[in-house]
Symmetry: C2
Subunit: 245 residues, 2 copies
DNA sequence: TGTCAGCCTGTAGAGTTTTACAGGGGGGGA
DNA sequence: TCCCCCCCTGTAAAACTCTACAGGCTGACA
């Protein structure tokens, strides 16, 4: 335990210095080796749909990784689905876990097994805008020894995942997140109601102002987001948490 | 250190049994007392706009909490803004921190200071759909002792925050997250382009199909999301990560 | 006192979405 | 084989948004 904590501290220090994917991989590999967990995959931004390719740093078998991407398995990957839905790290690959799967995801597990990925542990890392990264450690070992190892180092792995991701975001993507424009109260109200399915006439009734004024406020909101259509404005507003459902 | 880890383990156990806000508060208070950090506030879902009230469990001075909500300070709270932008826990209240603030947030800090909240440490907890919860610990102490304490227990506090939130979500909100409807490839494409500001005619050109067909697919997508307007469908699709920017 | 930002309103034509009607073809599972 | 889902298309009226024109009120701040 003490030794593990020391390894973690070293890891945090190494992270600060890692500027390339290779160095990142080395840092992760070192700390996970210390924990007897050589097989891992950090998936920077789990691909939700057709978005840009994620940053991946892994010691997963190359054959499996290739197959996964060829087949676009992320669309059906049960581990990824769990990571999206959960906040805490979780285990996968047990009989119970497999039993509750749909046929397609179960088939994927089967294939992964042929590459030596039979059970594992995944840390979901939730970012602001609904993106989810994961740190996965996997094993071909007998259930006992692997799960005992995981049980002992659960929290540490959690931290490793979160710190890795924070570092990646900082170093590789820049801190970015341009701040959302400040909408005036009226602009906010109008956009919010529009997103809830009201027409500009409806909104004018709700707010007790003319329809023209509603249109005016929505136009201003679009201008602030620098977009052309209401639809785009709504996307931006939702992504920046300016409006809710 | 060893003792702190023990306190954390006990905390996780207690969490499992906590079913009321009072029990939750007790569990958090116990572990934080062990760490010499009696003043804390867990803010369940940081209020982004006019959304429903968050779950708050805190030992912050009642006067300050009241003032904060009366004045709707969350709209200008620099700590909250940082929590939204960051993934890792951070300190606040140092001279440097204050120096870089805008006048309004700085004024808020001033007022908080009058209630004994001068420096602190905040754990941001990002959930799937852009919601952010925070665990804040605060102090009136001299800078040295507090920041030394924080430095030592940084990771532990991080875990306490994340576990608290996971428990709250599980117990108080239910696991919820109804799964998003499965859009057909065409529906997905059409909705995605619509969200990017294309008209149905534009989309028909892009996809090489008739405009009528684009409308047809978007209608089907709306039906699947059980909404009436394209705007609502886009909100749902964005929130469920079905489409991106 | 002037300027700026936010709020408010009107008209009118062009362009777009929405809705309801009506129809056909292909593939996969029960 | 039948049924269902997905894909595709057309017309036309009604509803709605978008854009560009033009104008007035208020409060904060220098």
């Amino acid at each position: 335990m003490q030794r593990a904590m020391q390894a973690f501290q070293d890891f945090v220090d190494q992270l600060d210095e890692a500027t390339t994917a290779a160095e990142l991989q080395q840092a992760i590999a070192r700390v996970l080796n210390e924990l007897q967990l050589p097989v891992f995959a950090y998936v920077g931004d789990a691909p939700v749909n057709d978005a840009s390719a994620p940053l991946i740093v892994a010691t997963y078998p190359a054959g499996w990784a290739a197959r996964y991407y060829e087949q676009a398995y992320h669309r059906f990957d049960a581990v990824l689905a769990s990571a999206t839905a959960r906040l805490l790290p979780f285990d996968w690959g047990s009989k119970d876990y497999l039993a509750q799967l749909d046929p397609v995801p179960r088939q994927i597990f089967h294939e992964a097994g042929e590459f030596g990925i039979k059970r594992g542990f995944t840390v979901p890392i939730h970012e602001g805008h609904g993106k989810v990264a994961t740190l996965n450690v996997a094993s071909d070992e007998a259930f006992r020894s692997f799960s005992k190892n995981i049980a002992e180092n659960r929290h540490l792995l959690h931290l490793i995942g979160v710190y890795t991701h924070a570092h990646v975001r900082h170093r590789f993507h820049g801190i970015a997140i341009p701040d959302a424009p400040r909408l005036s109260p009226r602009e906010h109200e109008c956009l919010q109601w529009a997103a809830r399915g009201k027409s500009s006439y409806d909104i004018s009734e709700i707010l007790g102002i003319s329809q023209r004024t509603v249109v005016f406020h929505i136009e201003n909101a679009k201008a602030k987001f620098k977009v052309r259509t209401l639809q785009q404005a709504i996307v931006e507003a939702v992504l920046s948490h300016t409006i809710g459902r």
